[in-house]
């Protein structure tokens, strides 16, 4: 399983005057589900692109399984670290869904037989079987997003990074993506989700890395960080619905405070007792 160590990472775009990332230190271990949160322009996508080698550090280092990303090609890293960009239209070019999914497999040297087998599997997982021969550009927003994730997950990368997976999605589509990602996490796959959607993040991830103006202002349990008013304000976030509800009701934590919750529910809904 993949392990990423980020040490004193500074990153500056070539035509920029300021650093987009400053002094980032992170360790991403196997089987972790991490949400990268922060305001617009905080450096979330830049950090993600440094993690999969699309961008190389200006200072400091990003090491994947001990190897500096500067000495690895993007294709080599992509085999281990899959990156789903926020706009699926940026990656579609094939005439059919099937060809789109097989593109990565061919680049990584899978045989046609293996590719076909893996294609069948992901089509089933992502509910895309009936669209197999459809043009990717003719799919709906939610279907496109599913296809984009499927076309990365198909070669089984050890870590999956998703940039804004729920942007522009309706509730049903969002729930669908959430369900798929939850099942990937429960299978033990490492996932990094870049999002503004705190409820979505709270439902999938256990750890959060909160960025503000290119710096990490919080790294730890998602629940703890998103209960911290200072972090929330600095990163222009809001508390997830569940945490807000807990606070409104005066409970510590839903999962730790079952007795009080039961008492409360019985008081409000007396018929619960029976």
């Amino acid at each position: 399983m993949v392990e990423i160590v980020v040490e004193n990472l500074f990153f500056k775009y070539h035509d920029a005057e300021k650093y987009a990332l400053k002094n980032i230190n992170l360790v991403i271990k196997e089987r972790e589900s991490i949400a990268i949160l922060g305001e617009n322009g905080a450096g979330k996508t830049t950090l993600a692109k440094n993690l999969n080698g699309l961008l190389k550090p200006t200072q400091g280092s990003v090491r994947i399984d001990g190897i500096d990303t500067r000495s690895l090609s993007v294709a080599k890293i992509a085999r281990k670290v899959g990156f789903v960009c926020h706009n699926p239209d940026h990656q579609f070019f094939a005439e059919t869904v099937e060809e789109e999914i097989k593109f990565g497999l061919r680049n990584f040297g899978f045989s046609e037989k293996e590719a076909e087998k893996k294609l069948q599997e992901v089509l089933k997982i992502f509910g895309l079987e009936e669209y197999r021969r459809r043009n990717p550009f003719q799919l709906s927003g939610g279907e496109k997003k599913r296809l984009a994730i499927a076309s990365i997950i198909v070669w089984n990368p050890e870590l999956l990074i998703l940039d804004e997976p729920t942007i522009g999605m309706d509730y049903a589509q969002r729930q669908n993506i959430q369900k798929i990602l939850k099942s990937l996490v429960s299978e033990g796959r490492s996932i990094i989700v870049i999002t503004h959607d705190v409820d979505f993040a709270a439902n999938i991830c256990e750890r959060a890395v909160v960025l503000s103006r290119g710096e990490i202002i919080g790294d730890g349990s998602l629940r703890d960080l998103l209960s911290n008013q200072e972090v929330i304000e600095k990163a222009s976030l809001r508390k997830p619905f569940l945490i807000e509800l807990e606070e409104e009701l005066g409970f510590k934590r839903f999962e730790e405070d079952f007795d009080s919750i039961s008492e409360f529910l019985i008081r409000v809904f007396p018929r619960c007792r029976s």
Partner: protein, 244 residues
């Protein structure tokens, strides 16, 4: 694609930025003419030095230097064709400088003139608004297309695409996963913009007025005077001194 950045307007407070785009355009055309008319390295290097001073004055030297990286591919082609068809390294160098002067003449103008000002300059020349608008949009779209190209390139590299690998045919074939989404995205955006313009009544009024009018100032007259002097110099060098 990084050479496209040489045509992206940079909002800066400089003496060049404050000039009227019409005087700057005239001057750019004159500088460009030098690179077309002359092949003499002394003339080309003098014009290049002149352009570097102008880029320095417009505080866009860094962007220009970066854009030169994008021309590397063309430099290689120039050197290869020169060596293959009877030239030598020196002629390759001369043609490369010619290319730099040619592209810098225009990049200096575009780096320091906002698309809005260019549009106003075109309107003041009584060009039809449809043409002016299409031109402005195409300038504005250069950096947008560059950014989109970069995003698509990143997305495909994340799926194991390696443009550097293989022979010439493979490289061309490998460009397809980048060019197809880029083309589709651009066409789609064109329709979206056309719709957005129509719903805001573009073209409903035949007589258009401008919120801001361009004014020729002392600096613009001075630049026009230099342009005229340069034209005379060009004629003198070419016809009387017979410089190649």
């Amino acid at each position: 694609m990084s050479f496209l950045k040489a045509f992206k307007y940079r909002k800066k407070d400089s003496i060049i930025h404050r000039l009227d785009p019409r005087s700057k355009f005239l001057f750019s055309i004159v500088l460009m003419s030098f690179s077309i008319v002359f092949l003499d390295i002394r003339v080309l290097l003098t014009i290049l030095a002149f352009q570097i001073i102008l880029l320095g004055l417009s505080k866009t030297l860094r962007e220009w230097v970066y854009s030169l990286k994008g021309l590397t591919f063309f430099f290689v082609i120039i050197f290869v064709t020169q060596l293959l068809f009877g030239g030598n390294i020196f002629t390759g160098f001369v043609f490369s400088i010619r290319l730099i002067v040619l592209s810098s003449s225009m990049s200096w103008f575009f780096l320091s003139s906002s698309p809005e000002d260019i549009g106003r300059a075109m309107s003041s020349a009584r060009l039809p608004i449809e043409l002016v608008f299409s031109f402005i949009m195409s300038i504005r779209f250069i950096p947008v297309i560059y950014d989109e190209f970069q995003s698509i390139y990143d997305a495909q590299r994340s799926r194991g695409l390696e443009l550097e690998k293989g022979g010439f045919r493979t490289k061309i074939k490998n460009l397809m996963p980048i060019l197809i989404p880029l083309l589709i995205g651009t066409i789609r955006r064109t329709y979206e913009i056309a719709d957005a313009m129509e719903v805001r009544a573009f073209g409903a009024s035949s007589k258009r007025t401008s919120y801001k009018d361009l004014k020729f100032r002392r600096g613009d007259y001075f630049l026009c005077l230099i342009s005229i002097l340069l034209v005379f110099t060009m004629v003198y060098l070419k016809l009387l001194l017979a410089i190649e």
